[in-house]
């Protein structure tokens, strides 16, 4: 190899490449933490300034479907973790992960449908316009859940490619999948569980 020849990924041994891919994904996840973190800050501001409006609006979200979706994502994370840790039946486990992601999106779509018909989408004719902060809550609800759904869609695409081409370097994609799950883990109490009791 001359001094001028570029290094190619193939020049490095596989374990080193895998370690680099893991690190790269973690750095990307770090940037994503700040991406969703900004929205969390906006939520924190709204909830501390209009607690009543946020509590009232949160009670209008569908807690049954929200809980079902949380369970679906937690399960999908366990399934893809099984594929990474056990290194057996990888392809079927990846397809199950994608299917659980698709089920999540179907449930989310049903929720959106309910919310649109109940005039909970911010704008003209918003159902809770009389309560300050409620519209802000639903603005944040739609922005965060839609961005989360987009991330999930990207994850489903990535996992599908791994399953379809039977690739075996699946850990970075699995890390991303878990991150999308973690975002939902925080969205669940913040959006669905604000003072359900009153």
């Amino acid at each position: 190899m001359t001094a001028h020849s570029a290094m190619h990924p193939g020049d490095f041994p596989a374990p080193r490449r895998a370690a680099a891919a893991r690190l790269g994904m973690w750095v990307f996840i770090g940037s994503e933490v700040l991406f969703f973190g900004g929205l969390m800050l906006a939520y924190l501001y709204g909830r501390t300034h209009w607690p009543h409006g946020f509590a009232l609006a949160s009670r209008r979200t569908d807690v049954v479907l929200g809980t079902l979706n949380t369970a679906l994502l937690l399960t999908s994370s366990a399934v893809i973790a099984l594929a990474v840790h056990k290194r057996q039946a990888i392809t079927p486990l990846l397809w199950i992960t994608v299917a659980l992601g698709a089920a999540f999106l179907v449930v989310k779509g049903m929720e959106y449908h309910h919310e649109f018909t109940e005039h909970l989408f911010p704008g003209d004719g918003f159902a809770l316009a009389a309560t300050t902060g409620a519209e802000l809550f639903f603005m944040l609800y739609f922005v965060t859940t839609a961005l989360h759904a987009l991330h999930l869609l990207a994850g489903m695409g990535g996992v599908s490619v791994l399953a379809w081409r039977r690739l075996r370097c699946i850990e970075p994609m699995a890390l991303y999948w878990h991150f999308v799950d973690v975002v939902w883990i925080f969205l669940y109490p913040l959006l669905y569980l604000v003072e359900r009791h009153s």
Binding site: A19, R22, L23, W26, V27, I29, G30, S31, V33, L34, G37, G38, M40, L41, L44, Y45, R47, T48, H49, W50, V63, T67, T70, A71, L74, T75, S77, A78, I80, A81, L82, V84, H85, K86, A174, L175, H178, D181, V182, I185, F186, Y188, P189, L190, Y192, L193, V194, E195, R196, H197, S198
Partner: protein, 97 residues
């Protein structure tokens, strides 16, 4: 297999505890418990499913840096947001001409 199944069940149990706690009137503790349980669930996913507890320290450093950076930004933003009064801005009537 057993280990992952165990953590999966623990995550689902935490989810139901979180759900149940929101139906009990605890004042400010409702939000605190919700976020604390979410933090615990996220830690379990990161430590076990994402193998952060067994992986190289470099990965834990990256994760910790991201969280520390976020806390820093939230804290600095709080200097403004947490101290801003919530009074509506005075309405300036339009000038009649």
């Amino acid at each position: 297999m057993k280990r992952i199944a165990l953590y999966w069940l623990a995550l689902l149990a935490l989810m139901f505890i979180s759900l149940g706690s929101s139906y009990v009137s605890l004042g400010g503790w409702n939000a605190a418990i919700g976020v604390a349980i979410a933090g615990l669930k996220a830690s379990l996913v990161a430590a076990v499913f994402m193998r952060l507890s067994r992986g190289p320290a470099l990965l834990r450093l990256v994760a910790a840096t991201a969280i520390a950076m976020w806390l820093l930004l939230v804290g600095l933003s709080g200097v403004d947001y947490a101290t801003r009064p919530n009074d509506p801005a005075p309405v300036q009537p339009a000038l009649a001409r």
